[in-house]
């Protein structure tokens, strides 16, 4: 869908996913790495646990459908080459510390003079300006700053993050969406613009709007083991079962209450509770609790009833019941179970990519959506460092002799 367009991707681990999304959609994405390779290549895990810039699985995960060239932007000749590339590109993505590209003479203002139609996407921790724009960052720092961290974890321990870094993926995906908005506008105006993505603001999405709680004059939601705490109520959303854990949306009200009613019917049918427990007013149960018409001790008893029931069942049995009875239950799935899921297999989700230099193929997470007319294809495996230098630079009109000189001087 984006095959007529070229993307220059100057990002490191803070922005790689953005260009990959555009590449999945068909764009010609050129990853521009410093000589020696991107810092993302130093991130593990590594294939066979052998640290090597061409074996970083972090790199692999976010650079398919890209070609790679090396270029030293700290050198005049390197900047010169970048400007020549930028003059004909449609998108440029960068994730340098705010201000660094401008210092190199490669900021939006400079490149827009060469190519007014260029869409220039900057992905940074806190955005390009503001009092924290130059803060030192990491995934954990961003999850703290944007709000989601405070909401997850056990009551008696500090808030806890997801073990697979997430913050820059939120920012990068946001960047791809923003790029497509600007691209749509460019079709009318013929003009590009600068896009400034803040990871802090992007991860705030993961508070489920609870970042607004106090400003709406509502109570602060608090983390709690296996759920959340809202005022005096410890809402439980995760439950142990026979072979692991399940998530159950054990909530009430006009929309979710009917699901809870069906769950209680199921528990009753199997002898897990009495009829009076089954027949509570699940649509109004939150109100009953908040007005103390129902004591919280009774809600605590219900949680134990549910737990005693889930402990008798396996994840698979509970998922099966969820499908058959329309219940809000899902297994808490380990990564091997995810990869071996019959659902994902039936949809042909996992996509093998061949790595000829290793004489092996690997299964990657599949396309982010299924398009009826222009399905996403994984056309290229993640590139080796500078794998496409010759191909791309000679196309740009740089002679073999010049290339050899660039290589000697460390420009590429």
């Amino acid at each position: 869908m984006l095959s007529p367009y070229r993307v220059l991707d100057l990002t490191n681990e803070r922005g790689l996913l953005c260009g990959q999304i555009l590449g999945d959609l068909g764009a010609d994405v050129i990853q521009i790495e410093p000589p020696g390779g991107s810092s993302a290549r130093a991130l593990g895990p590594f294939l066979d646990d052998r640290p090597d810039p061409n074996r970083s699985l972090c790199w692999w995960a976010y650079t398919r459908n890209k070609r790679s060239i090396t270029l030293d932007l700290r050198r005049d000749q390197g900047r010169d080459v970048l400007m020549r590339l930028a003059a004909r590109a449609h998108f440029l993505i960068e994730s340098s510390p705010p201000g660094e590209m401008a210092r190199l003479g490669l900021g939006y203002a400079e490149l827009a003079k060469l190519n007014p139609a260029l869409i220039y996407i900057s992905i940074s921790p806190f955005g390009q300006d503001g009092p924290k724009a130059s803060y030192a960052d990491s995934d954990l720092i961003m999850m703290a700053a944007g709000g989601p961290l405070m909401l997850s974890g056990d009551d008696d321990r500090p808030p806890v993050r997801l073990s697979v870094p997430q913050a820059y993926l939120h920012a990068s995906a946001e960047g791809a969406m923003a790029a497509m908005i600007a691209h749509h506008e460019r079709a009318h105006s013929g003009l590009g613009q600068h896009i400034d993505v803040s990871a802090q603001q992007a991860v705030a999405q993961a508070t489920q709007s609870n970042i607004l709680a106090v400003q709406l004059n509502g109570p602060e939601l608090q983390r709690a083991s296996g759920g959340v705490r809202l005022g005096p109520l410890h809402v439980q959303l995760l439950w142990p079962c026979k072979d692991g854990h399940v998530a159950i949306t054990y909530l009430f009200g006009s929309a979710i209450g009917p699901f809870t009613r069906r769950l209680m019917e199921y528990i009753h049918e199997e002898g897990g509770c009495d009829a009076a427990t089954r027949d509570k007013d699940w649509l109004r149960y939150s109100e009953l609790l908040s007005t103390s018409a129902e004591p919280i001790s009774e809600y605590e008893r219900l949680k134990k009833v549910v737990e005693a029931f889930t402990m008798r069942k396996t994840k698979a049995e509970l998922l099966d019941a969820a499908l058959k009875r329309g219940l809000l239950i899902a297994p808490v799935t380990t990564l091997d179970e995810v990869v071996n899921s019959p659902q994902l297999a039936a949809r042909g989700y996992w996509t093998s990519i061949e790595h000829p230099e290793l004489r092996r193929s690997f299964r990657y997470a599949g396309p982010f959506a299924k398009f009826s007319r222009m399905p996403i294809k994984y056309r290229r495996r993640p590139p080796l460092i500078g794998e496409h230098n010759r191909e791309i630079y000679t196309q740009l009109g740089i002679s073999e002799g010049q290339l050899a000189e660039f290589a000697r001087a460390g420009v590429i």
Partner: protein, 404 residues
């Protein structure tokens, strides 16, 4: 004022709760005209989810609903009613894009599946979003993003290795998939602009979200290793964690990327010798002595107010940030500088606060001006001004129950 970038995009939005509406919210911020359909018997579940204005559970007071539906038109319509279906077909003729998140069965039963709709509008772009996708043994599996987060592996990866999973907070896949939803729609519109062809997009929220576990998936498919939750520890950085600060349930996140960060932190702690201590001198030994390291760092941080300590450490470029709750966010000088919060006037609630756009476009910025619609607020406007229905026709529709 510059024209908004998506001023020419018209979306009929039959999605609900968060995953779908979060995507069309962004498109509305940038000028798309979005008509959201609810029915009064089956209103959006988001309306029942906290945080609530003034903490009071009320159909119009959900901060989640208000935040997800800013800038959209809202109408009530019953797609199961024959006359309601006719109105939907007129809206399909009007729209460039139809989005929906019903179960695959429901759309076919109403005759509103892609094959039916493209007869009405041949170049339609249609996107269906559901937890597991339109096909496969779990295609009819309905639910919310907290369930997709469990089934897609996220929940198991959040929490302490010696405890039950804690997961990420809430409907985690609903935070990821909207970016892919909006991007997919815009890519399909770009393709239509060049070729005149529409298309159908089948989006599984779980599949979209799995993009965010890429390295861990490859660690299994290539190395056979099943990654598990690891608390706040990192494979490289140490110290790396969430440490106590003064006050009740107050915390600061600190991440030392390398020996320099650690030496500077040790200096800030007034104990520069720690950086040379054989237990802590290199990343590798710090990682193997983390319990002791965390105990020392915690003992020091506990004497500081989180925000003051954040500023002290950031002044020497050590990654640190107070772990912010919504009260902190409301006074976070960076979020305020970026105008992350926007005040709007709501038709029944008065003044409300929503989040602004998470990125800036330099030439054609977002316009966030209209609060989310009250249930059915724009039904008449849509019928009269957008579809051009006569008063008689509208009266007839009201009588038929199609607008309930």
């Amino acid at each position: 004022m510059a024209e908004l970038p998506l001023h020419d995009v018209k979306i009929l939005d039959l999605m609900w709760v968060m995953a779908g509406p979060a995507a069309t919210r962004v498109l509305a911020d940038y000028g798309a005209q979005v008509i959201r359909i609810e029915s009064s018997s089956r209103f959006d579940t988001a309306r029942t989810i906290s945080p609530f204005k003034n903490g009071v559970s009320h159909l119009e007071g959900s901060g989640l609903f208000l935040n997800m539906n800013t800038g959209k038109l809202g109408m009530t319509l019953n797609p199961g009613n024959a006359k309601g279906r006719e109105v939907i077909l007129d809206l399909v003729r009007w729209a460039d894009v139809v989005t929906e998140s019903f179960s695959p069965k429901a759309m076919r039963a109403w005759g509103l599946d892609y094959e039916s709709l493209r007869k009405v509008k041949p170049d339609l772009v249609m996107l269906s979003s559901c937890l597991m996708g339109q096909t496969g043994p779990l295609s009819q599996y309905a639910g919310y993003g907290n369930l997709a987060a469990a089934i897609a592996g996220f929940v198991n990866l959040g929490g302490w290795p010696d405890r039950a999973p804690a997961g990420p907070f809430g409907a985690y896949t609903d935070y990821i998939s909207p970016r892919f939803t909006a991007t997919a729609i815009l890519a399909a519109l770009e393709y239509r602009r060049r070729t005149g062809e529409g298309q159908y997009i089948d989006q599984s929220q779980a599949e979209a979200a799995l993009q965010f576990l890429g390295p861990a998936i490859l660690d299994y498919t290539a190395n056979g290793r099943v990654q598990n939750r690891g608390g706040n520890r990192d494979s490289v950085m140490a110290p790396h964690g969430v440490y106590p600060a003064t006050g009740d349930d107050r915390w600061i996140a600190i991440a030392c990327r390398d020996d320099r960060d650690w030496a500077v932190l040790a200096g800030a702690m007034g104990n520069p010798g720690l950086a040379r201590d054989s237990r802590f001198a290199t990343g590798a030994v710090r990682r193997s002595n983390q319990d002791e390291l965390d105990r020392i760092v915690s003992g020091w941080t506990a004497g500081f107010e989180a925000r003051a300590l954040e500023e002290k450490l950031q002044a020497v470029s050590v990654p640190a940030h107070a772990v912010q709750n919504s009260a902190d966010a409301a006074t976070d000088r960076q979020l305020l500088h970026r105008r992350h919060f926007v005040e709007l006037e709501h038709s029944t609630l008065g003044s409300i606060t929503v989040e602004g756009t998470r990125f800036r476009l330099s030439r054609t910025p977002a316009r966030i001006a209209r609060a989310a619609p009250a249930l059915g607020q724009d039904t008449h406007y849509v019928l009269e001004k957008i579809l051009g229905y006569s008063e008689d026709r509208i009266t007839e529709l009201v009588a038929s129950g199609a607008l309930e």
